[in-house]
């Protein structure tokens, strides 16, 4: 039997995605987000959780998942941070790196990153 409460809870936290991309060299930089601009983030309308980060460098897909909470109005972005020999690609909230990241991303590739998140409808 379907648990109506569970169905409601699933429906009130719909999964969304936001894509970021950019051609990289070896410099730390924010990836460009929807609309083509890069910066420290896109505001989110409701509280919620970032649940996944998926990065494709043309050869390898790297992913991380956890639950990064955010509040309504917080901004999310994806930041490529150089480690000297490669990048760590990190999810940032309000310009601050979170624990969600993938590492070992090579320099001089074009990166495509998808951030998976859910907002809570209350």
């Amino acid at each position: 039997m379907v648990n109506n409460t569970h169905a409601y809870l699933m429906a009130r936290t719909p999964l969304s995605t936001m894509a970021f991309s950019g051609a990289q060299t070896n410099q730390s930089v924010y990836l460009h987000g929807p609309g083509g601009q890069n910066g420290d983030g896109f505001p989110l309308p409701r509280r919620g959780y970032v649940t996944g980060l998926h990065v494709w460098d043309g050869t390898t897909l790297r992913s991380d998942s956890s639950e990064i909470a955010f509040n309504a109005g917080d901004r999310i972005s994806v930041y490529c941070q150089s480690g000297g020999s490669d990048f760590a690609v990190k999810l940032r909230v309000n310009g601050t790196s979170s624990a969600m990241q993938v590492s070992g991303v090579p320099f001089n590739t074009t990166l495509y990153a998808t951030v998976e998140f859910m907002v809570v409808r209350e």
Binding site: M1, N3, N4, H6, L9, T13, T51, E67
Partner: protein
């Protein structure tokens, strides 16, 4: 002098009363202050819950720490069965399973983890659930337990014409003292008129007492079958009546067998089947 007594018969009946019947979530529509007949009569007093399910959004309790086997009281009782979700948080990344990981007392609103389940001891969890809103007897409705009817009060919180749900228990077969007393009179009259020479209404033989008690029980069970059938349709009256009938036949057979040494050779009544001559 009687061969048996009210107290003796009642002591035997205590072991043969059928169980109370529990009815849950019966929908009834209450219009004006008109009586609505329930499918049963002889309800157990104060056993009823009149409620409805009009909650749009589930309630949320948490974080609650479930430790060991301790029960934790939720904010509400009268939870709707199958509506409880126990999870670590809004993302529903972990949803625990009822009866495997935890148990809920839906009526009282208690929850506890199962030792063999997946919820770690002292794990904070969130509990989401839907619950019924419960109405108040005599304030919102009046229930006549004997007649099995219910109606709204004039200033009830139940809207006129609303459909609500009702739980109640139907009383187990209740035998009145008057019925037993009458059965004693009838049974002993039957026995006395069939007594063999040397036995009288004052005889104190244990066999007579035992047989008389069984015959009275037979009569009482027969009357209980009639009462069960008199209940309104939609109940389990037929099944209960059959049970009482079977019990009556059993007692009667034992009664006449026990009384046989004290009766004339051809008693007026016999439980045995007789072929037509």
């Amino acid at each position: 002098m009687s061969y048996t007594s009210l107290s003796i018969v009642r002591a035997h009946l205590l072991n043969s009363d059928d169980d109370a019947l529990s009815i849950q979530n019966l929908p009834i529509t209450l219009t004006g202050q008109n009586d609505v007949a329930l499918p049963h009569q002889h309800l157990v007093s104060n056993s009823e819950t009149v409620k409805w399910d009009v909650q749009n959004l589930p309630g949320k309790d948490g974080p609650l720490t479930l430790s060991d086997y301790d029960k934790v009281q939720l904010s509400d009782g009268h939870l709707i069965r199958g509506s409880v979700v126990v999870t670590l948080g809004d993302t529903l990344s972990t949803v625990y399973t009822a009866e495997t990981d935890y148990k809920v007392d839906y009526q009282s609103g208690f929850i506890h983890r199962l030792l063999s389940g997946a919820i770690p001891a002292n794990q904070p969890v969130y509990v989401f659930y839907n619950c019924y809103a419960v109405f108040t007897g005599r304030t919102d409705y009046v229930l006549d337990c004997d007649r099995g009817t219910i109606h709204r009060t004039s200033n009830s919180a139940i809207p006129d014409g609303a459909t609500v749900l009702i739980d109640y228990a139907v009383a187990a077969g209740s035998v009145t003292d008057a019925l037993i007393t009458q059965a004693i009179v009838e049974a002993e009259d039957l026995i006395v008129r069939s007594l063999a020479t040397g036995y009288t209404a004052q005889s104190a033989d244990q066999g007579l007492k035992t047989g008389a008690t069984m015959l009275v029980l037979s009569f009482v069970a027969r009357d209980m079958a009639t009462e069960a059938l008199a209940r309104q349709p939609g109940s389990d009256a037929g099944t209960r009546a059959k049970e009482w009938q079977n019990l009556s036949a059993l007692y009667e057979a034992r009664a006449w067998e026990t009384l046989r040494p004290y009766l004339e050779r051809y008693p007026m009544h016999s439980p045995g089947k007789q072929a037509n001559a």
